[in-house]
């Protein structure tokens, strides 16, 4: 059965590579430096909003225009950290009303970050994330989860 381990697609010149799939799902590539700078500015803004107690806007700013891309790994890590800080600073009782405020696109992005956070349980508190996941699924349904799984624009 050794033939099964052959990567036959690599013998085909017309294969779809990872970065092409990203473009096919309407992704726009930005340089890692620009992405990191954008995330840094975003981080400062979010921290200001949090100190003012404006959690709703802090959440929206944090998840807005995520650093999508195949090479923007550092920026993604930074942005995930910002979003997790916001999620952790919001009281559990406020979650349902906040989730309802978000648009469909924002709900999808938030779900992406929840899954991203749960993929590193050593860094982020999964209990908090599971609570968010439950409340978000109640509003956005399983369709939201399906969109996160299919989307090539990962966070």
């Amino acid at each position: 059965m050794s033939f099964r381990s052959f990567d036959i697609d690599s013998l085909d010149e017309d294969i779809l590579a990872q970065d092409e799939l990203f473009v096919f799902s309407n992704g726009v590539e930005i340089t890692p430096e620009n992405a990191s700078n954008n995330v840094k500015t975003k981080g400062i803004e979010v921290r200001n909003q949090l100190t003012r107690g404006d959690t709703a806007n802090a959440l929206i700013t944090a998840i807005e225009s995520p650093p999508y891309g195949v090479h923007t790994i550092d920026a993604k890590d930074q942005n995930t950290k910002i979003v997790m800080d916001v999620l952790n600073s919001i009281k559990a009782t406020d979650i349902p009303s906040l989730v309802k405020l978000l648009s469909r696109e924002q709900q999808d992005i938030l779900m992406k970050y929840i899954y991203r956070g749960m993929s590193s349980p050593d860094l982020y508190n999964s209990t908090v994330l599971l609570n968010w996941h439950e409340k978000l699924t109640e509003v956005a349904g399983v369709g939201c989860i399906v969109r996160v799984i299919t989307d090539r624009k990962t966070v």
Binding site: D14, L16, E20, L21, F24, S25, N26, R104, D108, A140, G141, V142, G143, C144, V146, R147, T150, D151, R152, K153
Partner: protein, 364 residues
Amino acid sequence: MSPTEIHQLNFGPITAHAFNKDRTQVAVCPNNNEVQIYIKAGKGWNLIHTLAEHDKLVTGIDWAPESNRLVTSSQDRNTYVWNFDTETNEWKPTLVLLRINRAATFVRWSPHENKFAVASGARVIAVCYFDEEHNWWTSKHLKKPIRSTVLSLDWHPNNVLLAAGSADFKARVFSAFIKGVDQKPPPTAWGDKLPFNTICGEFSNGSGGWIHCVAFSPSGDALAFSGHDSVISIAYPGGAIQSVGLTSLPYLSLIWTSEKNIIAAGYDFTPVLFENTNEGWKLSRVIDVGKKKVVGESTAFNMFRDWDTKGISSRSNNDDSELNTIHQNTITSIRPYSVIHGNVKQFSTSGLDGKLVIWDLESL
């Protein structure tokens, strides 16, 4: 008459189904290399023909209503056109020269029945037509810019334009104009100059996901498609697009029942109606909301009575695995069943549960 007819034609999945013109016969594939043709007999269906020419799973069946020809596509990379021989009372296959090196995934006759299109995993769509000179069915390939398996097709009413949904996250509108077969079509909203392989539209739902199904509206001036990202989109010539994000699981098949209504169904086991209202497209209602289960009183008396009268214990009698919806598994195909003045009044669905269901829109 019962509003919804339910027929269990197979205990495994039904991969494709197609009715003849007067709806007295139906061709289904019972998840193998065979095509079975059933004839209506009272309330049920009787098997009259088994077409076993393919070597692998049959992926698509279409029955041309006027010329009474069948076309079938299969994972064995072949397509057959079947003609009914009234003398021998048999269906005779004709092999089509497809020239593809991967599975054929879908097939549909064009509205005039002089062409058909075969989708395939070889990143091409084979547009097939009858070559009088050589007396066989031959094909031309729509190739660019498809980058992955084509999963579904739909013909525009003008017999020239063809919509395709693909695993590269795009729904496209092509011209499938064949010189010598087609008359020059009148200008459409999608364009007026239409040589073969013109791209008249390319749409994406934005968040990736395979495009499982595409369908032109009855006028052909709009295209609906739905992908694995649980989004259904309605696109118009020129690029305007309206997407409806769903809270439910993705759809695998959809049809337009009128210019303002779409029926879609898929992994949620139930057809759903979409409506174009003043505020745009939105989910109007779930057609099969499911019936409440009748839970019998489980008393000791009932249990012993069941043992006595039916010889069964009440536990095995009470089938808890049954779902509330009519379809017990994913719906993979929706087709119009009766069309009056361009509006679909009844439609049929089939899926992984082996059921063929005919729904009446008015009584639902």
